[in-house]
C-alpha cells in the first residue's frame, strides 16, 4: 500500500513537472490576424453553400416548370362533359318532341 502511495506521489510530481514544462503561452503575433482570416473563410464558405443550394433550387424549379409545360398538353384528357344539360336532353328526346309536334299539327 505504501509502495502504491509512493508511486502515486511520484506520478503527481511527474504531472506537476509536465505542467511546468508546458507553461501558458501567448502564441505568435499572427494569432489574431490568422484567426480572423479563418473566421472570414468559414463565413464565405457558409455563404457559398447557401448560394449554391439556392441556385440548385431555382434550377430545379425551372426544369420542373419546363417539363410540366411540355408534358401537360399531352397528358390532358378529353373533358368528361362536353355538352350542356340542355344539349343532352335535346339529344335524348329529340325524336319524342318531333312526334309530339307532328301529332299536334295533325
Amino acid at each position: 500500500m505504501d509502495r502504491m502511495d509512493n508511486m502515486g506521489t511520484k506520478l503527481d510530481a511527474l504531472f506537476s513537472e509536465y505542467r511546468s514544462a508546458f507553461p501558458d503561452m501567448e502564441g505568435s503575433t499572427n494569432f489574431m490576424p490568422n484567426l480572423w482570416q479563418k473566421i472570414e473563410a468559414r463565413r464565405v464558405a457558409n455563404t457559398s453553400i447557401f448560394r449554391r443550394l439556392a441556385q440548385a433550387c431555382v434550377m430545379a424549379t425551372v426544369a420542373l416548370t419546363l417539363l410540366m409545360a411540355a408534358l401537360l398538353p399531352h397528358l390532358q384528357r378529353e373533358p368528361v362533359y362536353n355538352m350542356t344539360y340542355i344539349d343532352v336532353l335535346d339529344a335524348a328526346h329529340s325524336s319524342e318532341a318531333a312526334d309530339l309536334i307532328a301529332s299536334e299539327i295533325r
Binding site: M4, M7, G8, K10, L11, D12, L14, F15, E17, Y18, R19, A21, F22, P23, D24, M25, E26, G27, S28, F31, M32, N34, L35, K38, I39, R42
Partner: protein, 191 residues
C-alpha cells in the same frame, strides 16, 4: 472569470471587437491548456484558433454568460480530442511510409538541435505521453484536466455535463491504469 459578463453578452450579440477582447483575455490560458493536452507545441496555435473559431460560430447558442468558461473548456476538450484522433491516424500513416532506420535518424537529428531545457521538456513529455497512451484519448484529456490543469471535480462536472460520481469512477480507473504503467517502468524514461 477573466472578463465581465457584459463583454461576453456583447460578443454573443455579434460585436466583433468584444469577441476579440474575449479571445485576448483567454488566449494564454487556452493555448497553455491545449499545449498540455496535445503535447505538441508546434500545433498549439492551430488547435487554439480552431477553438476560438468554434467559439465564434457557437457563441449565440450560449444560454447565459455565467456558463461561458465551462463552455470554452468543452470546445477546447473537443478540439484537442479531434486533434489527437487526427494525429493518431496521420502518425500511423507516416510511420508506415518510413523505415525504422529513417525514423531513428530523424529522431537523432531532432535531438542534436535541442538545448538542455528542450531535452528536459521532451523527456518529461515522452514519459507522460508513454503513460497516457495506456488510456483512451477521452480519458487522457480528462486525466490531464484533473491532474495537470488542476481543475476541480465541480468544474469538470460542468464541462462534461455528467455527475460527479461518474467522473470520480472514470478518473480513478484511468489513474489506476496510468499508475500501473508507471510502476512497471513504462513512463520512467529508463527505456
Amino acid at each position: 472569470m477573466l472578463v465581465e459578463f457584459e463583454l461576453i453578452e456583447r460578443a454573443r450579440s455579434g460585436d466583433d471587437s468584444a469577441f476579440s477582447q474575449v479571445v485576448q483575455a483567454y488566449r494564454k490560458r487556452i493555448l497553455g491548456t491545449i499545449a498540455r493536452l496535445i503535447g505538441r507545441p508546434e500545433d498549439v496555435e492551430d488547435v487554439g484558433q480552431e477553438v476560438f473559431l468554434r467559439l465564434y460560430y457557437s457563441l449565440e447558442q450560449l444560454r447565459t454568460a455565467e456558463v461561458f468558461e465551462p463552455w470554452l473548456y468543452r470546445l477546447t476538450v473537443n478540439a484537442a480530442y479531434d486533434y489527437l484522433r487526427r494525429q493518431k491516424r496521420r502518425q500511423e500513416h507516416r510511420m508506415s511510409d518510413l523505415s525504422e532506420q529513417q525514423v531513428m535518424m530523424a529522431d537523432a537529428a531532432a535531438g542534436g538541435k535541442q538545448n538542455d531545457e528542450d531535452q528536459r521538456r521532451s523527456k518529461v513529455k515522452e514519459q507522460v505521453d508513454a503513460l497516457l497512451e495506456k488510456v483512451s484519448d477521452e480519458d487522457r484529456i480528462l486525466l490531464t484536466l484533473k491532474e495537470v490543469e488542476g481543475l476541480s471535480l465541480k468544474e469538470l462536472e460542468k464541462i462534461y455535463r455528467v455527475n460527479e460520481n461518474a467522473l470520480k469512477v472514470r478518473l480513478f480507473r484511468a489513474r489506476q491504469r496510468v499508475l500501473k504503467a508507471y510502476e512497471s517502468g513504462e513512463g520512467s524514461g529508463e527505456s
